[in-house]
Amino acid sequence: MSTRTPTIDEDDVPQTMMNRLPAGFKPRPRRAHQLEQTAGPGSPSRHELSADMLVIGRGSAADLRIESDDVSRTHAQLQRVDDEYTIEDLDSRNGVFLNGLRVHAAVLRDGDQLQLGDVVFTYTEGT
């Protein structure tokens, strides 16, 4: 019985796709998530979402400010977790409606319609 340690000639190792990128592979360009305001004061407008957290409201402290009496000073908060945005009602007077349903919070999906008072947004998921 041989006690010689087997050696591997690199030329004998089969080349698999495991250690090579497919020809033509390149990472896809990233596109930001967006809110498009389609109704209410300030519409039409488009807002690219890049912050991890932002507040929508009428007050001066809001990151996305809406000049509408139907919108509370700090109406709702958008928070990014694992590259998904969640909207949360900040105890607003008129609530947050997701595709017509009043919600406390919701992870947003492409094409969702959000209503805050007389303001309507459409959410577009980025990549």
Partner: protein, 295 residues
């Protein structure tokens, strides 16, 4: 004090990830009902994994105390448990509620025998405590939970959850169509109100929110009789008879795309309107939280 309901898994039978189900979600049954101090979990389908991740983002210093209610131990209601992060922490306590024999607890642990999963149930670090209902009622934190039997192969339980004058009913895996007072009624005239016995309606009475299995359309159901799930139109009629305020259609069929669920919600909503009921109908969707005590 708030009363919140979050949907973590709304799919029936088997997880269905993919673009067709992205909006409503592909995880199987898991629902979180919480107040400011108590967390209740209904069913441990694959949605439980994400709930675990969320709970561990900001765990209380004293550790998590969770109350887990299982409707029944079919796969789509227990499969997430081995992947539930808090179960691996010694600071977590999980109360598992079942029947007085607590067979659900045994079946929950049985799925972690080593032929099926590499970690044994006994090796989980959390304190996992079997609990039993007494006379079908139990106090869990600041909630009162009442269980009731449902029609399903092997049996299943529904739950009425009460907190500070509000009530949410979780009633999945229930073949209501086998319990109709006039079983032939829907084939004679699908539009006529489908009456259910008073004992079936009673647990849902005046609920603020009914989360109910509505897996099939009227057209699909005849080929699925005995499978243990309801027609969405029949669920609407149950909600109307019980005076429910909001109805969440759930346990979405794995074959149904987001567009199919949209169509079922529309049909169900039109049915409620045509009967003259003030009932809000929507499709349960992963990642959505409702606040029940607000309106």
């Amino acid at each position: 004090m708030g009363f919140f309901v979050r949907f973590w898994g709304v799919r029936g039978s088997i997880p269905t990830p993919g673009p067709r189900t992205r909006r409503y979600g592909g995880n199987t049954s898991c629902y979180e009902l919480r107040s400011d101090t108590t967390v209740l979990i209904f069913d441990a389908g694959t949605g439980l994994r994400e709930l675990g991740i969320s709970l561990l983002r900001n765990p209380p210093r004293a550790g998590l105390e969770l109350h887990l209610f299982l409707s029944h131990p079919h796969w789509d209601h227990i499969q997430g448990f081995p992947f539930f992060g808090p179960a691996y922490l010694p600071t977590t306590t999980i109360h598992v509620y079942g029947s007085e024999k607590n067979e659900n607890y045994q079946l929950l642990s049985g799925q972690m025998s080593n032929a099926y999963f590499p970690v044994a149930f006994k090796d989980l670090s959390a304190r996992i405590v079997p609990r039993a209902f007494k006379n079908d009622v139990v106090q869990a934190g600041d909630f009162v939970v009442r269980r009731f039997d449902q029609k399903h192969p092997g049996g299943s339980a529904g739950f009425r959850v009460e907190h500070e004058g509000r009530a949410v009913v979780y009633a999945t895996d229930s073949e209501l169509d086998q319990l109709l007072t006039d079983p032939e009624g829907p084939s004679r005239n699908p539009r006529t109100l489908r009456r259910l016995p008073a004992a079936v309606v009673a647990p849902m009475k005046n609920a603020d929110l009914l989360i109910a299995d509505a897996q099939y359309t009227d057209e699909e159901y005849p080929k699925r009789i005995g499978w243990g799930h309801a027609r969405s139109n029949t669920v609407v009629d149950l909600a109307i008879q019980a005076g429910v305020r909001q109805l969440a259609l759930t346990h979405h069929d794995p074959m149904h795309s987001d567009r199919d669920v949209d169509a079922m919600v529309l049909t169900a909503s039109e049915r409620a309107r045509s009967i003259g009921a003030e009932l809000e109908v929507f499709g349960a969707r992963e990642g959505v939280t409702l606040r029940v005590d607000r309106e």
